[in-house]
């Protein structure tokens, strides 16, 4: 039992509730939101230390032992993601301070942001599949409001589509849970894994597994991503950056958790399906990224390519593949937030997202230009930046397990990603300087700090990846050996 585990969930929710009471004082809300997220990150650091010393940390809520109560489980994988979530969230908050606008701040932007983080952290920590559904809903309901906050036409249009897709996927999730409960009689992840291993994964259980895959694919943007480009380009930058960095990753986390802990017995059906979907996702996403001439669209399609690539590593069910996926997942959360913030800053400066309407930004904004360049290289996995290591491991994983086509598509699409981002760089930063300081629509004042932090992080992660190696290895070890997780949760010595 370790009571620290609950903190990443209750700190943001209590802070959010306090903010609703003090709705008039924006300054208080700003300070409290930063404080809440930073302390969540600090808790994650403490937990990571404890896990590397003593193994997986468990909290049985209300003292009800698993599988009877709801357990919170902090394994290395989940806790690393919580730490990265906190870092990204702080940067998006710093960006929001300057750019979100007084109107949105007055209408509960900060509480909603914290409720979103509550849902994300809860999804990472929970050890119970129904609790996962509840945490998903906490996250989704906040995202419904965040996406429509401000009420412009384009936002309303996107939010209706977004809500409808997610409501339906929530229903499918409930259907899958109902079937799972009827077949196994339990909802606890560890207990489910144990029972599925005991009775064997027959056709019916595989069907439920695929139903779960559909649900999580809808959230992650794996193949079923048609709602994503429209919804992620509608809200303001700070919000779309946090969506791009976190929401799809929660779906990916759920896929990894279910298909490495519970349904890993029939990889030639489920994991091959994930591989095929990942390949299609990468190709379609890359085509979209190359085809459009609009910053928002290019960036959202890049989110889709990233999802496909991470799941290509997941599909291999090998140590190399999942190690790569973990490195790439951490990298992707940071660099997607970074590139969205950069793109948002460019749109903020020029007042347009169309690439052919501006050029030559580098003369007035050299820092912005070079950071964009670094982010672009990192996004496509050029060494020594953070994307490289993940890319190497995922490719190695696909080659080791014989999925040559998957690795090949991954490498090919990463070239297309590089092209699509360089297109923004070349068109937007090179060439004639169209705008002068007077005709610019906004300033970069205050926006450079969060961007600088994230750029420094992507360089540091690339150069110092040995520093996090022990932690990633521990996470991989737990994922590849489900019995470690099962024993820890069920308390089997």
């Amino acid at each position: 039992m370790n009571n620290l585990i609950i903190l990443p969930i209750i700190i943001p929710i209590i802070a959010g509730l306090l903010m609703v009471i003090f709705k008039k004082s924006i300054k208080f809300q700003r300070i409290l939101s930063i404080f809440a997220i930073v302390s969540t990150g600090a808790v994650a650091v403490i937990l990571i230390n404890q896990i590397s010393k003593d193994g997986i940390q468990i909290l049985h809520l209300g003292g009800w032992k698993a599988p009877f109560g709801v357990s919170m489980v902090a394994d290395m994988f989940a806790t690393i993601l919580i730490l990265v979530t906190s870092i990204v969230a702080v940067c998006c908050l710093l960006f929001a301070f300057q750019s979100i606008g007084e109107k949105r701040e007055a209408y509960y932007f900060y509480p909603l942001f914290l409720f979103l983080i509550t849902g994300v952290n809860g999804s990472f920590m929970t050890g119970d599949i129904f609790n996962l559904f509840v945490c998903f809903e906490v996250m989704l309901v906040s995202s419904y409001v965040l996406i429509s906050l401000g009420g412009t036409k384009i936002q309303l249009r996107a939010s209706i589509q977004y809500i409808l897709i997610n409501v339906i996927s929530s229903f499918l999730f409930l259907v899958a849970i109902a079937f799972l409960y009827a077949m196994t009689g339990t909802l606890n992840f560890a207990h489910l894994a144990q029972r599925v291993a005991e009775v064997g994964q027959d056709g019916l259980l595989t069907t439920v597994a695929i139903l779960l895959l559909i649900v999580f694919s809808l959230k992650a943007g794996l193949f079923l991503f048609y709602w994503l480009p429209g919804s992620y380009s509608a809200p303001p930058t700070a919000i779309s950056a946090i969506f791009a960095a976190l929401l799809t990753k929660v779906g990916i986390y759920a896929i990894i958790r279910t298909f490495y802990l519970i349904f890993y017995h029939e990889p030639q059906i489920t994991h091959l399906l994930i591989g095929i979907l990942a390949a299609i996702t990468m190709v379609l996403g890359a085509i979209g990224a190359v085809a459009y001439g609009d910053i928002n669209r290019i960036l959202t399609y890049n989110v889709i390519v990233g999802v496909g690539f991470i799941l290509a590593g997941v599909a291999t069910l090998s140590v190399e593949g999942i190690t790569g996926s973990l490195y790439y997942l951490i990298h992707d959360m940071i660099v997607k937030a970074l590139i969205f913030l950069l793109g948002g800053t460019v749109i903020h400066l020029t007042g347009t997202s169309k690439l052919n309407e501006f050029s030559g930004l580098i003369r007035l904004h050299p820092q912005l230009g070079w950071m964009f360049f670094i982010a672009a290289l990192s996004l496509s996995g050029i060494p020594p930046l953070s994307g490289f290591l993940g890319k190497v491991f995922i490719t190695e994983g696909t080659f080791v397990t014989g999925y040559f086509w998957l690795g090949g598509i991954g490498l090919l699409t990463s070239l297309m990603v590089l092209y699509s981002i360089m297109k923004i760089f070349i068109n937007g930063f090179w060439g004639y300087t169209v705008l002068t300081e007077e005709t610019e629509k906004g300033t970069t004042k205050g926006l450079m700090l969060p961007i600088g932090i994230l750029t420094a992080l992507t360089i540091a992660l690339g150069l110092g990846s040995e520093g996090i190696q022990t932690y990633v290895d521990l996470a991989t070890q737990t994922l590849m050996n489900p019995e470690i997780y099962i024993r820890a949760v069920l308390g089997i010595k």
Binding site: F130, V134, E137, V141, Y144, V145, S148, G151, K153, I154, L156, R157, S159, I160, I163, L164, V167, I168, S170, F171, L174, V175, I177, A178, F179, Y181, A182, L187
Partner: protein, 116 residues
């Protein structure tokens, strides 16, 4: 012909899903929302059916009782109902706002090409 309650309920769930899906495929926003609501009812019934339907058993396992009702699906159902309720309310408010803003609730016209 149909000898137990579970089969009957499963058929009912199927019918509710069919009606909901039909409504989802229509063009009017309000009908779509009603469709999600009906599918939601279907899902709730499915959860309660999957727990097994019994009459007369208490929800606890006692020393003498061998016939007990599983109370967990009811707890799940209650949570799902509350979440479904909140989401539907939010969805209705949003669609009303969209109707006010854009003057139509026809999804064909809501797609809007001009100002993108």
């Amino acid at each position: 012909m149909i000898d137990n309650m579970e089969t009957l309920m499963s058929i009912l769930v199927g019918i509710l899903f069919a009606i909901g899906t039909y409504l989802l495929l229509t063009k009017t926003l309000l009908r779509i929302i009603l469709g999600t609501s009906i599918i939601g009812h279907g899902v709730n019934l499915l959860i309660i059916t999957m727990g097994g339907l019994k009459t007369g058993g208490p929800p606890f396992l006692g020393r003498k009782e061998t016939n007990f009702t599983d109370s967990l699906p009811q707890a799940l159902l209650l949570t799902a109902v509350v979440i479904n309720f909140a989401t539907t309310a939010l969805f209705l408010v949003l669609s009303y706002r969209a109707y006010k803003e854009m003057g139509t609730d026809d999804t064909e016209q809501l797609r809007g090409m001009g100002d993108e």
